[in-house]
């Protein structure tokens, strides 16, 4: 479990790469490969997450390596920051633990024509208006409840369902991973309980580490790519981080029950019961993927609905419609998901089941799934940091496709526990510290604010530095928070 240091081998394997050889543990089918620098790898070792990387390497059908990003930390079964691809044709499995409870938790970034000079005098009003417009916090659902038939449509159609109801623009779908909809979502594979939990929560942020931020581009590293993404230094942007709410949590809960039985049925000898899984090509595997895709679509619909509320709030503050403020979606990308994608292994293209748990898709220039407007530069990769420092916009590179199934990190990763953070600082202090840095924060919970304070997280700059040095993605720009809304 977390807390016990990993005492196994972590062999240097090139720039920012450490290998756990498959000889480390009986049952490992491939090596483990962790992307980190000298400092991060010591923190990673202390967390014992490498043991989980080795455990994932035992999964049937796993290809190339069990991978972990520099923001890796201990998770349930799979580590957070883990990437694993399995080949269904070789009996490859799908595991709910490789996706996580918050299915398709992800990040959405909106750009604007507004500058710092426009926003600075009104930042408090902007943040307050967003807070009052977007439902957020514990036990707070969306503005309306969906009927069962509507819910089923939403689960099949994802973000497009919301756009078709007049909430958003057609171009929003173009700039959403998978156009905001995974084919093969199966509402019949979703329990009634999940549907009931989901009906009242579309268009709500939630709580915990989910947030809405008003940000400013304070540093541009790659002007050409930044221009392609429509951002420039001094421009104001908005970042939304949330997922599939109680719907996804219930789908995960339900599937864990099924998969615990399946692991027994298929005779898998798993080093950790939380790696429970089933072959992709099995009734249990297909059922989980059908339900998980429904949850992924729910999350894209949710972020679409939340974004529209942000557009409305900002439009109200400036007395102009969102179109005239240029509040256009840069990109929306998932970081908790399993997808069937085509990748090249041993010189042969194959459909693989790619698990990204706390990892972000980062496809390079030229990939057909990158929006046409960005295809010359690559896919935008959104990496939130913490509310006191910065976040980053990266772009995917070919090495990610070659080595990590087109994946990179997803954030900073916690440096201290929630209870430790609360012992260290009070919410009121966090608020005034942020104010001293010119950041306006609104939260429903003092405790929640304390738990999310900047010092509780690792420095995300170090994480993206590793990703860049490893050649997986390149920094495009840095985003500094101006205002923060927490649930």
């Amino acid at each position: 479990m977390a807390g016990q240091a990993f005492d196994g081998p972590l062999e240097p394997a090139g720039e920012c790469r450490y290998r756990i050889p498959k000889s480390y543990k009986p049952g490992m089918r491939v090596d483990g490969l962790i992307y980190a620098d000298e400092q991060l790898i010591e923190k990673i070792r202390a967390d014992n997450a490498p043991e989980q990387v080795a455990n994932v390497a035992t999964l049937p059908g796993i290809q190339k390596a069990s991978l972990a990003m520099p923001d890796i930390h201990w998770g349930y079964g799979f580590p957070i920051g883990g990437v694993a691809a399995t080949d269904p044709a070789e009996g490859g499995v799908v595991s709910p633990g490789g996706v996580g409870y918050d299915i398709n938790c992800g990040v959405r970034m909106v750009r604007s024509d507004l500058t710092l000079a426009d926003v600075a005098p009104r930042i408090e009003q902007i943040v307050t208006t967003i807070f009052q417009t977007v439902p957020c916090g514990v036990g707070v659902g969306g503005r309306e409840a969906l009927a069962t038939s509507e819910m089923r449509r939403l689960l099949r159609e994802g973000a497009a369902y919301v756009v078709r109801r007049g909430r958003g623009w057609d171009e929003d779908l173009e700039y959403t991973e998978a156009r905001g909809c995974l084919d093969g979502a199966d509402p019949d594979a979703v329990s009634k309980r999940a549907q009931e939990r989901g009906k009242k929560q579309v268009g709500s942020l939630g709580a915990g580490n989910h947030f809405l931020e008003v940000q400013v581009v304070d540093k541009v590293f790659d002007p050409k790519t930044a221009e392609a993404f429509g951002v420039a230094e001094g421009a104001v942007t908005f970042m939304i981080h949330c997922g599939s709410r109680g719907f996804g949590h219930q789908v995960c809960d339900d599937s864990l029950k099924t998969m615990r039985g399946a692991a027994r049925k298929y005779g898998f000898d798993l080093p950790d019961q939380q790696l429970c899984c089933a072959p992709v090509e099995s009734d249990e595997g297909r059922r989980y993927l059908g339900a998980m895709r429904a949850a992924a679509n729910y999350a894209w619909a949710n972020r679409q609905a939340v974004m529209v509320l942000v557009r409305e709030a900002v439009g109200r503050v400036f007395g102009k419609p969102a179109e005239r403020l240029g509040l256009r979606l840069v990109y929306d990308v998932a970081h908790n998901i399993a997808k069937i994608e085509t990748h090249t292994v041993d010189g042969r293209q194959r459909p693989l089941c790619v698990h990204r748990k706390g990892a972000t898709r980062a496809f390079p220039a030229g990939h057909p799934e990158v929006p046409e407007a960005y295809r010359g530069v690559g896919q935008p990769v959104l990496i939130p940091g913490d509310m006191g420092r910065y976040s980053f916009l990266l772009v995917g590179l070919p090495a990610a496709m070659d080595e990590t199934f087109g994946s990179v990190c997803h954030g900073a990763g916690r440096a201290m526990s929630r209870t430790q953070a609360r012992r260290t600082v009070r919410g009121e202090q966090v608020r005034s510290d942020l104010a001293a840095k010119g950041i306006v924060a609104i939260s429903r919970s003092w405790k929640g604010l304390a738990e999310e304070y900047s010092g509780a997280y690792k420095d995300v700059a170090r994480v993206v530095d590793v990703v860049e040095r490893a050649g997986l993605a390149r920094r495009v720009c840095r985003l500094r928070p101006l205002g923060v809304v927490k649930g």
């Binding site: 514990v138 939990r197 609104i442």
Partner: protein, 182 residues
């Protein structure tokens, strides 16, 4: 780039001093299988991204009641003032895990969390009419959560199976250790 000086604002709807952990439920406890209200205790233990709970009860019913109290105290700073409805809650472990006390604890908490999320119902009083190993049946008094009146803490995504331990001690009391995904 100009510096922004802005007055920060936190909107909290109820301004009350924080309650001491574990105190808030005391006035709601009432009789049941435990015979006179929960006597159990709980502690929060460190877990990097989530919340760990260690719970002790004088019997299994007391353990389950205390675990429920502990879980809701992680979510809510304030509890509803009064019981609005008493509902029957039944939790049954899945097939193949019928005699697993850990599974019983998980499904019991899942039942209560489901009612909170779909109906804003907060369990305040517990009368455990039947308790394990294959079933929990309880009359639970629920109050209604109002986000405009009740301060909150954090959302619980799930009760996990990680490091899940439930067992009976030599003196007949029960203890549990589990992690909430938040």
């Amino acid at each position: 780039m100009p510096e922004i000086v802005a007055t920060p604002l936190i909107i909290l709807h109820v301004e009350k001093p924080f309650s001491r952990q574990g105190d808030r439920y005391n006035r709601y406890t009432m009789g049941g299988l435990s015979g006179g209200g929960a006597m159990g205790t709980f502690e929060v233990f460190d877990h990097t991204a989530d919340i760990g709970l260690e719970v002790r009860g004088r019997d299994l019913a007391d353990l389950l009641e205390t675990a429920a109290r502990a879980t809701f105290e992680q979510m809510l700073e304030d509890l509803p003032d009064e019981v609005e409805a008493i509902e029957q809650v039944r939790a049954v472990p899945m097939e193949g895990f019928e005699d697993d006390a850990g599974e019983l604890l998980v499904v019991w908490l899942q039942e209560l969390l489901y009612r909170f999320e779909t109906g804003k119902l907060v369990p305040l009083t517990f009368d455990l009419e039947m308790c394990g190993p294959r079933e929990v049946r309880a009359s639970v008094g629920f109050g209604r959560f109002d986000p405009d009146r009740h301060r909150t803490h954090t959302e619980i995504k799930a009760v996990t199976y990680h490091d899940l331990q439930v067992h009976q001690e030599a003196d007949g009391s029960w203890s549990a250790r589990f992690v909430l995904d938040v």
